[in-house]
């Protein structure tokens, strides 16, 4: 089980910002999310969207430990 956090326009698109999802890898997590909401799945794979696992940016695939926090970060705007 991973905790998924969405930020910015991704949360607006999904209609949620914090959800528990059953997945043991980032790839699996993306598949579950895209299966439930194809538009969200496409947006999460879109240009400029970064992924942080337990608050550290990861690129490519990652294994998810139980309780991992996975955040999808759209392009940052600055303050």
């Amino acid at each position: 089980m991973a905790r998924v956090l969405l930020f910015g326009r991704l949360a607006d698109l999904a209609g949620w910002r914090d959800r528990a999802v059953e997945a043991v890898s980032l790839r699996g997590l993306r598949e579950v999310l895209a299966g439930a909401d194809p538009a969200l799945g496409e947006a999460l794979a879109g240009p400029g969207v970064q992924v942080a696992v337990d608050k550290a940016i990861v690129r490519g695939e990652a294994v998810l430990a139980f309780g991992s926090e996975v955040a999808f970060l759209p392009p940052m705007s600055g303050g």
Binding site: F7, R9, M76, S77, G78, G79
Partner: protein
């Protein structure tokens, strides 16, 4: 070294004058304190409010890492950054940055440098609420250019 109070993200309105007074207190060996306060601005009365989203534990850590580099680069004695999150009304302070150094040049430049980072690269997501609803904002070309002049 990063101490937690040097970076503050808050959903409460703050008073920049009080922050500056507190930052200046007890500095026997500081010759210069520079500060900047950014206010939420209404564009021709259009923006009803700004909404800033941060990722607690990620946003503050990223700002601290950048600010600690700035401290080394400019030889700062100290700095303080306070940034609003949540909904911010026009006229309210969004950001406060203060820098302390032996001489003024370092304090001025580091303050400018930190603001260019905060405005263009810091991990925030900004939404403008206007009469026609909300709109997510990306950094402007000018913000990017301002940040690049330090590269």
């Amino acid at each position: 070294m990063t101490t937690p109070f040097r970076i503050t993200l808050t959903d409460q309105a703050f008073e920049p004058g009080a922050l500056l007074t507190a930052f200046c207190a007890g500095r026997d060996e500081t010759g210069a304190v520079a500060s900047f306060t950014g206010l939420a601005r209404a564009e021709k009365g259009a923006a009803v409010a700004l909404e800033l989203e941060a990722y607690p534990g990620f946003t503050d850590t990223a700002i601290a890492a950048f600010a600690d580099d700035a401290q080394a680069r400019f030889g700062l004695q100290d700095y303080a950054i306070v940034h609003r999150v949540g909904r911010i009304a026009p006229g309210e302070a969004i950001v406060f940055v203060a820098t302390a150094a032996v001489h003024r040049r370092a304090a001025f430049e580091a303050c400018d440098f930190l603001m260019d980072y905060l405005k263009s690269r810091a991990p925030f997501w900004k939404k403008e609420h206007g009469p026609d609803g909300g709109r997510w904002i990306e950094p402007t070309a000018q913000d990017r250019t301002d940040a690049q002049r330090w590269d």
